[in-house]
Every structure is written in structure tokens, then in C-alpha cells.
């Protein structure tokens, strides 16, 4: 009979407000973990926007330079010409690159790309994708933060450039991407006679991996597939942030254990008389522990659902308030959170277990 009664569920749902508070508490603690991981996931996906969308299967850079984020690369034009003339290369487009700060209502970090044929913006919201001399294409979110629009001017390296286009998909919490004409870049930054990177397309049917290996062997350059380049970009961001993210996630885990432990303990202690009755009619301690463990799992499981719902709401709210933050929840993070939830539930269930074990069956008959 005892086994047929869903004690854990009934214990929890009898006092709905308490259960709601417990689930909300666990949900918020898990949200600390999930939100952080989702923001971090968003950053990792956005930081590779340029290599992912520039369209070139192979990216060539100065020897020893494997990234764009917080990096600098310089290739002599003679090397660029040799790469372009290589029989395995179908097309090669040099680009110039510098990390800059766009200044307006608020400052915005940006990768400034100077391009001629290839490597420009991939999705336009307004205006032209190809900026004229003294023109610039910036991201639409960056424009919002700067408080500028088409036709306005931005001061870059001493020259006022007119905004001639607004792009999409070129903004992240770390940096945006802005585009100017190649020769304008040369004039602004004094980089005539060099390129920062070369975007390279292999001949039809040839593999990007083989071309990258060939170029690296034949010329004094570093050549990578765009996927490899993106992987290195992610490594840079991970290397900078992993310890910080792990530290905050650990705090979220501790908070989760405390909140779940508190709520399970409170719910259990409130039912000590009922547990005494169950013991008096023959229920074993082990079965009682099982009930408490189920209670804990139900609470943290509901907490996880609450956290996911809150994450969805947060994602929508952040999209409205701070569009630079994009949240990406990966299956790995979900799995990690589910494991964390299970661990939190198991630890939380231990707290009231001793109290229940010490309950005397006779206490059920005392007033």
C-alpha cells in the first residue's frame, strides 16, 4: 500500500507555494550556470563570424599567425602575388585587417576589414555591400549603439568615413566587423605594399586541406582551412575565459546545492510526523530515503525546467535590451546541466536523511 502512494510527489505538491519557491530557487541557481554557459556559447559562435562567412575555404596569414581576434598579420604583396599565381589556387583575395574602436554614443570594438574582391559583408540590412572610397559598412547593432545611421560619418584614423551600408550578423559581445574599401584602408593605415590575410579558393574538386598544406609548404605563410582558422579563434577566447567561466559555474553549483538542500530539508522536516507514522506501520529507513531522494529529484528536475523557461525568457529579453549578447545552448551544456542537477538533488537529499532516520515510530502517537 505504501509503495502505491506517490509520497514524494504528494509531499511536494501539498504545499504548492513552498514547492513553487523551491523550484524557483533551484531554477535560479541553475540559471546562473545555464545563462553563463549560453552567453559563453554565443560568444564562441559569434567570434568566428568572419572566417565562417567570408566564403573562402582557405585563409592565408603571416607565418606563425593563426587567428584574427587580438592578432596582427602582415604579408608582403610579393607573397600575395605568388600565392595568387599558384596553379592550385582558383582565386585569391587579399584583405587588410585592424582591430579598431568605433566611437559614438557608446564605444564599439570592431574588426576593420579592407576588401576589394571577396571578404566583404555577407548580409546587408540597408545600403550597399561595397563601400565607395571614404565609405564604411558597419553592423546595424553597432550603428544602434553608436547612435548613427546611413549617411552619418565616423572618425577613423583621422579620416571621416561616411556610413554607406548596414550589415547583419557581424556583431558580438566581443567585437563587431566593419568593412571599407581596400585602398581606403591602405591610405588610412599606411599599409601600402602589404596585406593582412589572403582569402583563397581551391580549384574545383581540390580539397581545402590539401591546398592549405601545399601553400604552407611552398610559401613563407601560415595557411589553414576556414574551419581550422575558426577553431583557433575559439581557442583564443577559451584560453582567456575558461577559468573565469568555470569559477562562476562552480559558484552556481554550490548555490544550487544549498537552495535544493534547504527546500528538501524544509519540506521533509514539516512532515516528520507523517514519516513517524510510516515507520510505525513498518516502512524501512531505506524506503524513506528513497522517498526523500525522489522528492529531491522532483524538485531539482522542476527547477531545471524552470531554469530552461527562464533562459528562454532571458534570451528574448536580452535580444531586445542588449542585442550584442547572443545566447547559444549546446547539447553538451544541457547534458552538463542535467548532470549538475542530478548531483545537486543527490547531495540535497542527504541533508534531511539523518533527521528522518532518527525519527522514533512512537512519536507518531504523541500529541
Amino acid at each position: 500500500v505504501i509503495g502505491a502512494v506517490p509520497l514524494a510527489r504528494r509531499n511536494l505538491t501539498r504545499q504548492r507555494l513552498r514547492f513553487a519557491l523551491s523550484a524557483a530557487g533551484v531554477g535560479l541557481a541553475l540559471l546562473l550556470i545555464l545563462a553563463l554557459e549560453a552567453i559563453y556559447g554565443g560568444v564562441l559562435s559569434q567570434v568566428t563570424a568572419y572566417p565562417d562567412h567570408a566564403g573562402a575555404p582557405v585563409i592565408v596569414s603571416q607565418r606563425g599567425v593563426e587567428t584574427m581576434h587580438m592578432s596582427s598579420s602582415s604579408l608582403p604583396m610579393a607573397t600575395v602575388r605568388r600565392v595568387r599565381r599558384d596553379p592550385d589556387v582558383r582565386r585569391a583575395a587579399p584583405i587588410l585587417y585592424a582591430p579598431i574602436v568605433l566611437n559614438g554614443r557608446a564605444p564599439v570594438f570592431s574588426y576593420l576589414i579592407g576588401f576589394r574582391r571577396g571578404g566583404g559583408p555577407w548580409e546587408m540590412v540597408k545600403g550597399r555591400a561595397r563601400p565607395p572610397r571614404d565609405g564604411i559598412v558597419i553592423d546595424q547593432i553597432a550603428a544602434g549603439k553608436l547612435g548613427v545611421g546611413i549617411g552619418d560619418r565616423l572618425l577613423i584614423a583621422g579620416r571621416r568615413l561616411r556610413i554607406t551600408g548596414l550589415a547583419r550578423g557581424t556583431f558580438s559581445i566581443i567585437s563587431s566587423v566593419s568593412f571599407i574599401d581596400y585602398s581606403t584602408f591602405e591610405r588610412l593605415e599606411g599599409t601600402a605594399g602589404s596585406a593582412s590575410y589572403v582569402l583563397v579558393w581551391p580549384r574545383r574538386g581540390d580539397s581545402p586541406e590539401a591546398l592549405a598544406s601545399h601553400l604552407e609548404a611552398a610559401y613563407p605563410v601560415t595557411a589553414q582551412t576556414s574551419g581550422g582558422f575558426s577553431g583557433h579563434e575559439r581557442d583564443v577566447v577559451s584560453g582567456m575565459s575558461t577559468e573565469l567561466i568555470e569559477g562562476l559555474v562552480s559558484i552556481g553549483f554550490v548555490v544550487g546545492v544549498i537552495v535544493a538542500g534547504l527546500s528538501i530539508y524544509t519540506a521533509t522536516v514539516a512532515r516528520l510526523r507523517e514519516y513517524a507514522v510510516l515507520k510505525a506501520i513498518g516502512m524501512r529507513n531505506r524506503s524513506l530515503y528513497g522517498t526523500i531522494l525522489r522528492q529531491a529529484m522532483l524538485t531539482v528536475g522542476t527547477g531545471l525546467l524552470v531554469a530552461l523557461a527562464l533562459l528562454g525568457l532571458l534570451s528574448v529579453a536580452i535580444g531586445q535590451i542588449e542585442p550584442s549578447i547572443s545566447m547559444l545552448l549546446t547539447s553538451g551544456v544541457l547534458l552538463k546541466s542535467t548532470l549538475a542537477t542530478t548531483a545537486i538533488g543527490a547531495v540535497a537529499a542527504l541533508l534531511p536523511a539523518r533527521r528522518v532516520a532518527g525519527v522514533e515510530p512512537a512519536s507518531a502517537y504523541r500529541s
Binding site: G64, I251, I325
Partner: protein, 368 residues
């Protein structure tokens, strides 16, 4: 009868858990603010210590963080030195770089300065500042973290550099500072005749503000910034990347603390419905009962606040000891924010139990 205190102390484990929950939440809020300030300080390490009063860059430049987008001819130096009030004007080539190290990618802030002149390392722990091409002085925390010592070699932009010195006060969570000669830096940057900034020092008796204005007037097409301006703009830029995430974390921690208080005080109220019902039946007004639960919530919040401040400091010190690249800086305003957070947790946490009390029927005491 001290009802609030007695109820709180009757369940020590529950009270301990509640205090732990609030303590951790408050500590998290404090740590996040401390970390934000620490990141801000680390961001401006170079302008704060380099000894220059004024920074001259390309027109439109406002940040040292974006140094590599500023490009000026080295030949500008004599013209700057001729401006009255200038005692030193030295070219500097600076940018961020990614250094491959045992399979990791480490971001560094690469400073190329003229040996023996303004802009070099300000505190040497061991060895000497770089004086020749292909020599490098690295931050001591970076040296510990990556097992690099004097005489070792590190790769920078495809060049092999020999470590000749370890510097102090140059650590950073984001990018530790490494120093080379300007010649080495400019060659790696691919612009041997260009500098990213000129560092200018004023003569004794010439206020830096006056010198800045004088330089701005003489070089209207360039960006002339005081040390405080460039440091301020860098902090604003860095904060713009972090603040939204920080706000999400702080609000969530606040919510957790409020829920912890809510669960605890709600537990006290719901387990003693009969007692509260008796008090109501004896004529106790609702507002007195509300005060009782609010006091309980406040007591938990304030004790949690005290614990949170202690945990915040201890955790901050522990993190700094284990990973010295992190810096936590606590300001009086952070304490104010933590007090405000604790009060907010108490008030939000009291809502659920107050609702229960408001609906409590005095007749309940006579049932059963």
C-alpha cells in the same frame, strides 16, 4: 516574547542553510563587482604605470586598447619634442598578439619601446629590460603559468625571442604585458617606420592638462589624450563588453537570495500556522505579524550580508593566490550595493510568508 528570534533558532540546520544561501548570493554579487573593477584596473595597467602624461595617436583614436589601429610616422618625434613644455616624446609600437604556448593560445599586450626611454617596464623582478632586437621581458605570472624563465625562447609572430627579464605589476586576466624593443615590435607589425602612439612627458612645472591642450592646438589632425582620458575611455570600452552579462548574474544572484529567504521564512510561518492563528485570535494585528516575518527575513539577510562580505574577501584572496592573473578590487560603493542587495533579498523574500499570514483565518486554531 522574542518570537522572531525563537522561531529562527529552533531549526539550526534550516537557519544555517538559509544563511549559507544568502551568504553565497551576497558574496557572488560582491565578487562580480570586485572582478569588474579589477578588470578595469588591469585594462589600464599600461597608461597607469608607463609614466607618460599625454598620448598622441592618429585622429579619432581614443583608446590604448585599439593601439594597433593608430599609425603615425616615427619622424613626428622631433616636431613633438619642439613643443614648449615637452621633455620627452617617444614612439611606441603596441598591439595585442596571440602567442602559441604548449598547445594553448595566449593573448598578450605587446609593447615595443625605445630602450632606455619612456614606455618600458616599470618594475623588474628578475633580469633586465630588453635592449636589443629579438629580446623580450615577460610578466612574472605568465612566466609561472607557462614555465618560461630567463634564457628561454618564446615565439611571437613567427619570430623567436629570448626572454631576458621578468616584470612585475604587468599581469592581467585578459592579456599580460610583454615588452620588446620598438625595432622588434615594428618589424613584427610589418611597419618599421610607423609607431602606434607617441608617449609624451611634460617638463616639471607644466601641468599635463596645459601640455595636452598645447599639443592638441599644434596638431589638430591628431588625437591628443591625457593619461586619465585614455584610461577612462579604455575602462568604458571594457565595461561595455561586460556589464550586460554582469547585470544578468547579479540579478539572478539577487533572485536566489530572495527565494532562499522566502523558503525559510515561509517554512517558519507554515509550520506554525496554529501559533500565528492563536496570535490573531488573541487580537494581534496583521501588521504586527508582518513585522515579525519581515524582521526574520531582515535578520537572515543582514547575517548573510556579514557572512557574504567575509566570504567575498576570502574567496577573492584565494582566487588571486591560486590564479594571480585575476584581480579583485573592492570599492566602498560595492559595499553599498551589497547592503542594497541584502535588503532587496529580505523584502522580496518576505512577500510569500506575508501573503500566507494575510490569508490566515484566526478560527483555524479552534479546528481539529
Amino acid at each position: 516574547v522574542p518570537l522572531a528570534r525563537r522561531q529562527l533558532l529552533r531549526e539550526p540546520l534550516k537557519l544555517t542553510l538559509a544563511l549559507l544561501g544568502v551568504t553565497v548570493s551576497v558574496a557572488l554579487v560582491g565578487l562580480l563587482f570586485g572582478l569588474r573593477e579589477g578588470i578595469g584596473r588591469q585594462t589600464t595597467t599600461y597608461p597607469d604605470h608607463a609614466g607618460a602624461d599625454v598620448y598622441v595617436g592618429s585622429g579619432g583614436t581614443r583608446n590604448f586598447l585599439s593601439a594597433s589601429s593608430s599609425s603615425l610616422p616615427v619622424s613626428l618625434a622631433p616636431r613633438l619634442r619642439r613643443v614648449p613644455g615637452v621633455t620627452e616624446a617617444e614612439p611606441l609600437t603596441a598591439w595585442f598578439d596571440v602567442v602559441p604556448m604548449h598547445g594553448m593560445k595566449v593573448v598578450v599586450e605587446h609593447i615595443g619601446y625605445e630602450p632606455g626611454r619612456l614606455g618600458g617596464p616599470w618594475s623588474m623582478l628578475e633580469g633586465r629590460p630588453p635592449a636589443r632586437a629579438n629580446e623580450v621581458a615577460i610578466d612574472r605570472v605568465m612566466s609561472d603559468q607557462h614555465g618560461l624563465g630567463i634564457g628561454d625562447r618564446m615565439e611571437l609572430q613567427g619570430r623567436s625571442l629570448r626572454v631576458v627579464g621578468l616584470t612585475d605589476q604587468t599581469a592581467s586576466w585578459m592579456a599580460p604585458i610583454v615588452f620588446t624593443t620598438r625595432e622588434t615590435a615594428a618589424a613584427a607589425w610589418g611597419r618599421p617606420r610607423a609607431a602606434t602612439f607617441f608617449l609624451v612627458r611634460s617638463k616639471n612645472g607644466v601641468p599635463p592638462g596645459v601640455l595636452r591642450n598645447r599639443l592638441a592646438k599644434d596638431f589638430p589632425r591628431l588625437s591628443v589624450l591625457s593619461r586619465d582620458q585614455i584610461a577612462h575611455d579604455d575602462r568604458v570600452l571594457m565595461a561595455s563588453s561586460f556589464d550586460s552579462t554582469l547585470l544578468v548574474m547579479v540579478l539572478t544572484a539577487l533572485g536566489v537570495g530572495a527565494v532562499v529567504i522566502g523558503i525559510t521564512v515561509y517554512g517558519f510561518v507554515s509550520e506554525r500556522r496554529r501559533e500565528f492563528g492563536t496570535l490573531k485570535a488573541m487580537g494581534a494585528r496583521n501588521h504586527r505579524l508582518y513585522r515579525l516575518v519581515s524582521l526574520q527575513a531582515l535578520a537572515i539577510a543582514l547575517t548573510g550580508l556579514a557572512g557574504g562580505i567575509v566570504v567575498q574577501r576570502l574567496t577573492g584572496h584565494a582566487i588571486e593566490a591560486l590564479s594571480p592573473k585575476f584581480l579583485f578590487v573592492y570599492l566602498p560603493s560595492h559595499l553599498e550595493l551589497m547592503v542594497a542587495a541584502a535588503f532587496a533579498m529580505a523584502m522580496l523574500g518576505a512577500i510569500a510568508p506575508v501573503r500566507v499570514l494575510a490569508r490566515l483565518d484566526p478560527a483555524e486554531v479552534f479546528r481539529r
